[in-house]
Symmetry: C2
Subunit: 358 residues, 2 copies
């Protein structure tokens, strides 16, 4: 074993157990050399799509497309699905960044920032909003959007497009995708894969709204506009030469997670999160950053430190545990601990035991 | 040896000799798990940039940025460097695709299509053009743009931006980058790496023109607009979580190519191309598609078949040599043979011997 470290960083993070073996197989089978216009590639594309649909219980009528990152998906959502106005529920730096993309694209978008304690005091959305952005799991603050609130937004706005950022949640947190119209994630979080691939789920309502945006005369992009993604995707291809190796690895890891099965991954995630929050509450030098239990992320656990995080992170490092600093303004004060599927129950029990003594 | 095949396909293609070893080292050193905001990542970013600058003799005042593909760079060039109008010299499907991106972005762009025999009969460019697009090596047809014509365009248009597509040429074909203002490539061609990374070289004239485009009120993108690439790049970072593993591998392969040294790679490329074209001329069933020798690509050698390519490709496959079909309208009639650095002189001598008997 050359790997003496375990990465609890909230992305990129620890590789999933099976990644290195799949990579060896990929090279044996010449996956990085095959043409993206070959049947061999189409088979890989199809397998990855179908495995993801199975793993995430993607409803009928929703389709999956591949981009280079979740950042790219933010941009493509704004280009393809927003003619004038989106509304953004913002509970941290990443949901704020998506709002900023809308502003860069000169949309008249609006924002509801979480208040004290990060909760949303009201869920109202301006009438003329086309798309509502929700971040299921805000990686910067460890705030989880209450799924009951997603249900309420869906009920209140049946005609608007609801976009769900699943970046550091899917597939470790169960979610009913029928509640939303589009959802997306990147693979370097819960899937435990190298960064460089974004996955975009869209339903027919999105495709219809895209036609309206396109019809209005707006630029909707080029190789990755929805029509081009769909036209190539219908042939199990991509418009450009994609990150073939990553699409292959994602399909393989998705299969592994289906077989584990995924329900076990989700219940282990809940168990590991529970013991970790308990340990943080027991610790003298740490407290959970998110106060309301319903909004505590199960996959990115954020603790406030009393006297800065340097000493604690260094102590954890001596155990071989690489954990994340705080994000942005909280850089020196928070510890962010990724509770992704690549970390076993046994490892997290060790970590929790140690943290409770800090 | 599990790999019984050699890929002469024009991208994705055969992996460079050293890629698999570098990948093993990357996993040992946890490269896929490190944070893109860590010093460890900045060191990788810096090393890859510096190795590429050395390998490609990038002039002072030019900087390197990373995207997900050359397709993305086409889009970013249009968004960032063209306010109204670009002019495109088109000698195949890929240079045409770039022109189509400009049209998708509603630019009043113009085009010079190569005539019979693929040569450009005149090199004139409309006066109000901001950017001239040249494709050094058109992967779809095996047409190489005469470097003397690049010199002439530079002399005729000192104030316009010249953009050079180096996709299937760099670094196997020597080029003086001082003749152009921006250049780009993807890594799955001559670098023999898995697809999923684009490399964009821009000089200060580009940055100045970007300011003008931005100042005109146009949308210049979001996370990958030039200002954001530069702001992150100045810290040896990327705006988003990038394909870290690919940036690492590119730096390592660039070092290997510097050490070989690159001049030897370039002279071997010329030698391998010469014996391959000779073999095609000797063959009874094949002829070179590009008639003028000065325009014959050294890296993507395209042969016309008399009676379709199926039988010939199948015969080559029995030798373990996977070669490319024709592109687009030429799908059934051409054979495209990648002559990239991953293929040794000895291998190409074997291939040439065999092809001359066909």
């Amino acid at each position: 074993m050359m790997n003496y470290k375990t990465f609890f960083t909230p992305g990129p993070s620890q590789m999933y157990f099976t990644v290195e073996d799949h990579l060896k197989t990929a090279f044996k089978e010449n996956i990085p050399s095959i043409s993206h216009r070959s049947n061999a590639f189409s088979d890989i594309f199809k397998n990855t799509r179908e495995s993801l649909k199975n793993l995430l219980s993607v409803p009928d009528g929703y389709e999956i497309y591949f981009t280079s990152s979740a950042n790219e998906i933010w941009e493509r959502i704004i280009q393809n699905l927003v003619q004038n106005k989106s509304h953004h529920f913002v509970n941290g730096a990443f949901s704020e960044k998506f709002y900023n993309f809308a502003i860069s694209y000169q949309k008249a978008s609006s924002i509801t920032r979480a208040g004290e304690g990060l909760e949303f005091e009201n869920l109202s959305v301006p009438d003329n909003t086309e798309l509502i952005s929700i971040t299921l799991n805000e990686t910067s603050t460890g705030y989880a959007f209450d799924q009951n609130n997603i249900k309420q937004l869906r009920a209140d706005h049946p005609d608007k497009i609801i976009a769900l950022d699943g970046v550091s949640a899917f597939p470790a947190v169960p979610i009913n995708l029928e509640l939303v119209d589009t959802a997306y994630f990147s693979v370097q979080k819960c899937f435990g894969l190298p960064a460089g691939l974004g996955v975009w789920v869209v339903n027919k309502k999105c495709l219809n709204h895209y036609e309206k945006v396109k019809g209005s005369g707006l630029v909707t992009g080029s190789y990755h506009d929805l029509a081009q993604l769909k036209s190539a995707g219908d042939k199990n291809q991509t418009p450009e030469t994609p990150n073939i190796l990553s699409i292959y690895l994602l399909g393989k890891v998705a299969e592994d997670m289906i077989n584990r099965p995924v329900k076990m991954i989700q219940s282990e995630t809940a168990y590991k999160a529970a013991i970790l929050y308990q340990a943080i509450e027991n610790s003298k030098s740490l407290t959970p950053f998110v106060k309301q239990k319903v909004n505590r992320s199960k996959t990115v656990v954020v603790a406030e430190t009393k006297n800065g995080n340097t000493e604690i992170l260094d102590t954890l490092k001596t155990k071989g545990w690489i954990m994340g600093k705080g994000y942005g303004a909280y850089k020196e004060d928070h510890i962010r601990i990724a509770n992704f599927p690549a970390v076993s129950k046994e490892q997290m029990e060790q970590v929790a035991d140690f943290i409770s003594t800090l």
